[in-house]
């Protein structure tokens, strides 16, 4: 078993390789392999895997890519991620990708799919219209049709027909992947000092750019390490991060939150990798229906999914309670409509529920964290000062 530090360094390397080298090498290893890039938040990677493809998460250039061309496509008041994705595409970082999938998350990502089409980037561009109707016979059927379209695109490239067995096998692999990621979060809930949120982030994000088999092997090793009593506990409060599900904060900011006195015991940074709660049926005759049902019945809350039947504020409050968190940090990317439009809903509810929170905005290339660090530090101190007061007043 590799030392934990070594695994984390490898994951760090993979996570921020803007040339997606591992994916490129994987493709070169065997003829007929395809790479399909997908944008945040969530995409059922199982179907790409089953079709002989490698799904690769595209989360922008972060603070590692200077934006020049991308700014010519987006006004200053539009979030940062589309311009950095454009920059990556126009600078040919993704030339080995065969297709691109833009899941329905917001108007910006939707229109970005049109820009990719207009510029003929990739062999196919698919806007993945996730259903907002949650009846299996209506929204579920539509979702299955959307997945079929993706499979058709891939077949046009590699000529492969996907079998039920292959789909079930892929579902099984991703079930294991999610189980192990959740295990890491569960361990951190009790022993957050065993692995920092920075390390968790590298480990989970690496899984978006390499084959799931390789990621599962990494996760197994990580899980073995953190079962051990490692690390030294520190006097920090426990918080949940919410709102950072698409454009990712710079690593410096992710680190700064824990350095300022908080253990992050849950977050939505890599929401797509944790979107489905629990396993998807991997022994079914209709795997696409199983994937569809998992989206309809087992999805985590998201600012991009209409929530009237299951209000998101109570779902987040439940996470806070279950994780034993002392408060919530709402971290939204600047100009992120879904996250910012949810802010009043969360904050009004949390005022009533007695859940402590702070809120700030960031962009992926921000490199000055002093103000945010002070804000988080003050938040942490305030919780410690009044730690005897009940924080969560929900049942």
């Amino acid at each position: 078993m590799k030392p934990l530090n070594e695994i984390i360094q490898e994951c760090k390397q993979l996570s921020f390789d803007l040339n997606f080298t591992r994916a490129k090498n994987w493709k070169d290893e065997k003829k007929g392999r395809v790479i399909v890039g997908y944008m945040p938040i969530y995409f059922p990677r199982e179907i790409i895997h089953a079709a002989g493809g490698l799904p690769v998460g595209i989360f922008g250039g972060g603070d590692r890519k200077q934006i020049i061309k991308g700014d010519a496509y987006y006004q200053s008041y539009i979030c940062h991620i589309p311009r950095s994705i454009m920059e990556l595409a126009l600078d040919k970082h993704m030339d080995h990708f065969d297709g691109f999938i833009f899941p329905s998350i917001c108007d910006v990502i939707r229109n970005l799919s049109g820009m990719f089409k207009q510029l003929n980037i990739g062999k196919f561009v698919k806007y993945m219209d996730f259903p907002q109707n949650f009846l299996p016979q209506i929204g579920g059927v539509f979702y299955q049709q959307e997945m079929q379209h993706v499979l058709k695109y891939i077949k046009e490239i590699n000529g492969l027909d996907v079998t039920t067995e292959q789909l079930n096998h892929s579902i099984d692999l991703y079930n294991k992947n999610r189980q192990m990621i959740e295990f890491i979060y569960d361990i951190r809930q009790e022993f957050p000092w065993r692995l920092s949120i920075e390390d968790v982030y590298y480990i989970v994000r690496a899984g978006t750019v390499i084959p799931v088999e390789e990621h599962n092997a990494i996760l197994e090793e990580v899980c073995s390490h953190i079962k051990q009593n490692i690390g030294i506990p520190q006097d920090k409060v426990k918080v949940v991060i919410s709102g950072a599900f698409c454009e990712q904060p710079a690593m410096g900011l992710i680190k700064a939150i824990e350095e300022a006195g908080c253990y992050v015991v849950d977050d939505d940074y890599m929401l797509g990798s944790r979107m489905i709660l629990g396993d998807i049926d991997a022994k079914t005759k209709n795997p696409l229906e199983a994937i569809s049902n998992s989206y309809i019945f087992q999805s985590q809350y998201s600012s991009s999914i209409y929530d009237v039947h299951n209000p998101k504020e109570y779902r987040l409050a439940k996470i806070v309670k279950n994780r034993g968190a002392d408060g919530v940090i709402f971290a939204s990317a600047s100009f992120c409509d879904p996250s910012l439009l949810d802010a009043p809903i969360f904050q009004n509810a949390f005022n009533k529920l007695g859940i402590r929170y702070i809120a700030f905005q960031y962009s992926e290339n921000i490199n000055q964290y002093k103000v945010i660090k002070e804000q988080v530090g003050a938040f942490s101190d305030s919780i410690k000062l009044w730690e005897d007061e009940p924080v969560v007043a929900i049942k």
Partner: protein
Amino acid sequence: MSQEAQKEKSMILQKEMIEGLFNDLANAKETGKKVCYTFVPGNLSELIRTFDMLPVYPEINALQSAMRKKSAGYIKEAEKNAHSEDVCTYVKCDVGMMMKGNIGPTGQKIPEPDILLLSYTGCFTFLKWFETLKREYPNAKVIMVHTPYQENAVMTPEMTEYMVKQFKEEVIPQMEAVTGIKYDEAKLKRHLELSRQAEDLIAKIFDTTKNKPSPIDAYFAGVYYIGPINIGFRGTQKAVDYYKELYSEILERIRLGLGPITPEGEMKEEKYRLVVEGPPNWTSFREFWKIFYDMGAVIVASSYTKVGGVYDLGWRHDPERPLEALAEYCMNCYTNLNIPQRIDLLSKCITEYSADGYVTNSIKSCNSFSAGQLGMMREIEDRLEVPVGFIESDLVDPRYFSYSNIKNRLESYFQMLEQRKMIKEEEKV
């Protein structure tokens, strides 16, 4: 600016229609009419009327509040309540108006919704908007209609079927439950037939800009022309009568060789013909318009007037396929078109209406329109070699309308158009 706007018969008709609607809304409790809040793009007017409901369009209230200089206060109120500075100002204006008593543009109280009909055609913010309203109006029934995006520039049978199933299994049964009225397809068909007639007239009206001079301004005046169909009158005889009257007035202008009517009277000389992309600014609507007509610029087509439905390309509500027609209508609204479709549509307008230029009014808080506009502009410039202009403002937040910046930019743009005209004339010689 000090002059009173000229009023033609069609304008008076429209004023009466709007006043009538707000009177009906104010008396909804007494008359027992159910109230349905919904949005302009993808509005199901005919279905709402089939169930004898009264429509409320929050974004129309917001823009009217802006024109009456009330939006700044409403937005401030919403921002005090955790609404970000950077999100859709229609939402904040609406929320602020609600917090201040929900007094509508005519000074009458707008009743609470019985139904929040959430068709978020082409705009995710609509979805978030009604999530917010649902928490303010817990007794209202939310009916969600998911309109698939035209990602491949087509409306496929499966997309239509998905929507029709939503109508049959979700929308109609819930409307029946709230109103106590049984769905009457024959009644819906009658409304759809009237819609088709109105749409024929609308297409003809906006096509009159082929004339030189153009008898209408298809943006600044265009937003008034689309008023009746965008505030719930599509599918009514009143709308058909309005558009007949408007069309005859325009035909008369063509016969007399007249240009568009502006708030300061008739435009005397048409110097530039433009196509405009993006919604207008509503807080300084008159000043904004004035910059254009003072320079002799007339807008011969605009994307904004297609936000409540695209009729240029021949699509009409078909009474014989009522639910399919409603589905196709929703999918065919401008912001539900993908970026290449938008480029093609605007290019067609530039060519067919002999436009001299293309101007984007980029709205700070409307990503449905704004995200992608710069790329569209580059493509249109390359494809048609037409001079492009770019300005920035906002929908209903007066903080983001900078008169001098916009005027400076447009003046430079018009100078460019003028020079280009001179060069072209020299080339002819």
